[in-house]
């Protein structure tokens, strides 16, 4: 597929300037591989496509803030939750009318990038924000897309943390594409440069699977049992940390969650086509939340409807089939292992739910595994960039529907179907 196709499909709106990418600011670079702008900024490690596009997350988020505030004053801001051990900011973009002054509106959180190698997830999360900013009208809405964007942003506040693990992500770009955890220097596989002899950096914090490190209710119980999808060996890629919330990124995200009443939260990952609902660390309880099931059932129906269209096929000439799963069943299904070995301690979505329960609030939180699907020959964590457009079309309407219905007691299929017109 020609790169220009990507650019035209996801072109920035007038008034939004693409981040300069390729600047000297290596510390906040990331990849948005949907664009045709080529700005290589440093020698690529082996086996990365040569046509990748590099952007600055900092600049891109700030550009969105400028653009939206230009249409509706006081509707957007970007803040740092703090810095990682690698001195990179953990950015949160907040958009919605009266983002500073009207805290009573429904509040939705989209996160991604906890796992460094899952590049499509941060890209998709960013694109949700870009779609809203792009389509928000400066005056009266002129079409259906503008009506939707205005309705969503006038009545809700949406927070985006597209890159939860910037240190790990940078390492996947510069040195080892399949790195998953944070703090790349913190295990024995660390290479200071491509080709260098692996050796741990003694100054680095333990390299930790951030989505096993949140301080969830069953964290210690699962660790003690020895059964579950985690490791206590720092060299394993699902090392859960020596203690809950031991990682700097986890601490920063937990602080945000502790201090913010989110009505709905989605954490994006790759790869599979799955909507996964908590509790990852308490499988029995996952069946009890009827409201959550109403959301996920409506989502599944809508996304599969979109995925069935030929234009929305991602990596094969067949439709993706999205499945609904307990998080705690995910690995049991994929690996054919016992269910108790599939329990997941310390996920961000469990943490969000537990914080809400403690405060006696109702919150919907779940994870999504974005395409490609698991199948023999699947490109897995390294799909071509041509996956982005169809994946976006499969999902964007549903993401907008989630924001719109964030406080619904029992969302119906029709509540989601209203968004079918987005990226048809």
């Amino acid at each position: 597929m020609a790169h220009d196709d990507h650019f035209h499909c996801f072109a920035f709106p007038s008034g939004v300037t693409p981040g300069p990418g390729g600047s000297a600011k290596r510390t906040d670079t990331w990849l948005r591989v949907f664009s045709g702008i080529k700005l290589p900024m440093f020698p690529l490690p082996v086996n990365l496509p040569t046509d990748l596009t590099f952007y600055s997350l900092t600049d891109d988020l700030k550009a969105l803030v400028t653009a939206l505030n230009g249409k509706l004053a006081g509707s957007a801001k970007v803040e740092s939750l703090g810095q990682t051990d690698g001195k990179r900011d953990l950015w949160v973009l907040k958009i919605g009318a009266g983002i500073e002054k009207d805290p009573k509106k429904a509040r939705v959180l989209f996160t991604s990038g906890l796992h460094a190698r899952e590049w499509l997830a941060p890209t998709y999360t960013y694109l949700i924000a870009e779609w809203l900013v792009t389509n928000y009208p400066k005056a009266a809405p002129a079409n259906d897309m503008e009506k939707i964007a205005k309705d969503v942003l006038d009545n809700n506040h949406v927070w985006f943390v597209p890159m939860c693990n910037p240190d790990g992500h940078e390492y996947t770009v510069t040195t080892f594409r399949m790195h998953r955890k944070n703090s790349p220097g913190g295990d024995d596989f660390f290479r200071s440069a491509p080709g260098a002899t692996p050796k741990r950096d003694p100054a680095a914090a333990d390299s930790t699977d951030l989505n096993r490190n949140f301080d969830t209710k069953q964290w210690n119980a699962i660790r003690t049992s020895g059964k579950g999808d985690f490791s206590v060996d720092v060299n394993d890629e699902n090392f859960e940390g020596a203690t809950p919330a031991s990682a700097t990124e986890t601490k920063l995200l937990q602080k945000m969650i502790d201090n913010t009443a989110f009505d709905l939260a989605v954490d994006h990952h790759t790869f599979d086509c799955a909507i996964m609902f908590p509790y990852g660390d308490d499988p029995g309880k996952a069946k009890e939340d009827k409201r959550l099931r109403a959301f996920t059932a409506a989502m599944q129906k809508q996304i599969n409807g979109k995925a069935a269209k030929s234009a929305n096929q991602t990596t094969r000439s067949t439709p993706d089939t999205w499945r609904l799963s307990k998080i705690s069943d995910f690995y049991a299904t994929l690996r054919g292992i016992p269910a108790d070995e599939s329990r997941i301690p310390g996920s961000i979505t469990d943490y969000i739910i537990y914080v809400a329960e403690k405060a006696k609030r109702k919150t919907v939180a779940f994870a999504m595994e974005l395409p490609p699907m698991h199948y023999p020959g699947s490109p897995g964590f390294t799909p071509q960039e041509s996956i982005i457009q169809p994946a976006f079309r499969q999902l964007i309407g549903t993401s907008l529907a989630l924001i719109k219905n964030a406080t619904s007691a029992s969302p119906k299929d029709a509540d989601f179907a209203a968004f079918d017109k987005v990226a048809p």
Binding site: P45, V46, N47, P49, F176, R177, M178, R180, F189, R191, T197, P198, G226, K227, D229, F230, S231, N235, D236, E237, N238, T315, R316, Y331, L334, R335, G336, I337, P338, E341, H374, Y375, P376, G377, S378, P379, G380, F381, T382, Q384
Partner: protein, 118 residues
């Protein structure tokens, strides 16, 4: 097969196709080890994973069918990204698996002729 045959300077992880034993071993530690190999792909009813070479003998002793298909993770990713279709990637790995099984059989029979790519 000697436990140290996979010690290779400069190689930190190899990519292999692993079919887990069923049922898993009774030992909690061994079952946990087998259950949580990094999952980077599927091949038939087996998984594609990446492990340190020193883990290969343990995998085999626990009853897993193991075939090393690439000595370096980047080499595997290059194959994934250059494959024109999933069928092409599957066919290439099929060849590796067949050759790997053949070599392993020779090695286990004491022929000394072949070993995993690692």
């Amino acid at each position: 097969m000697a436990d140290n045959e996979h010690t290779i300077v400069g190689v930190s992880r190899v990519v292999c196709v692993v079919k887990l034993p069923s049922p898993l071993p009774d030992s909690v530690e061994d079952a946990h080890f087998l259950s949580h190999l990094p999952l980077i792909g599927h091949h038939g009813d087996a998984i594609v994973t990446m492990v340190v070479p020193s883990a290969l003998p343990r995998l085999r002793k626990l009853g897993a069918e193991v075939t090393v298909i690439d000595n370096d993770v980047d080499d595997y990713l290059a194959r994934v990204m250059s494959a024109k279709s999933s069928d092409e990637l599957v066919a290439a790995i099929d060849k590796n698996v067949a050759k790997g099984k053949e070599d392993l059989a020779i090695a286990q029979a004491g022929g000394g002729g072949g070993k995993d790519k690692a």
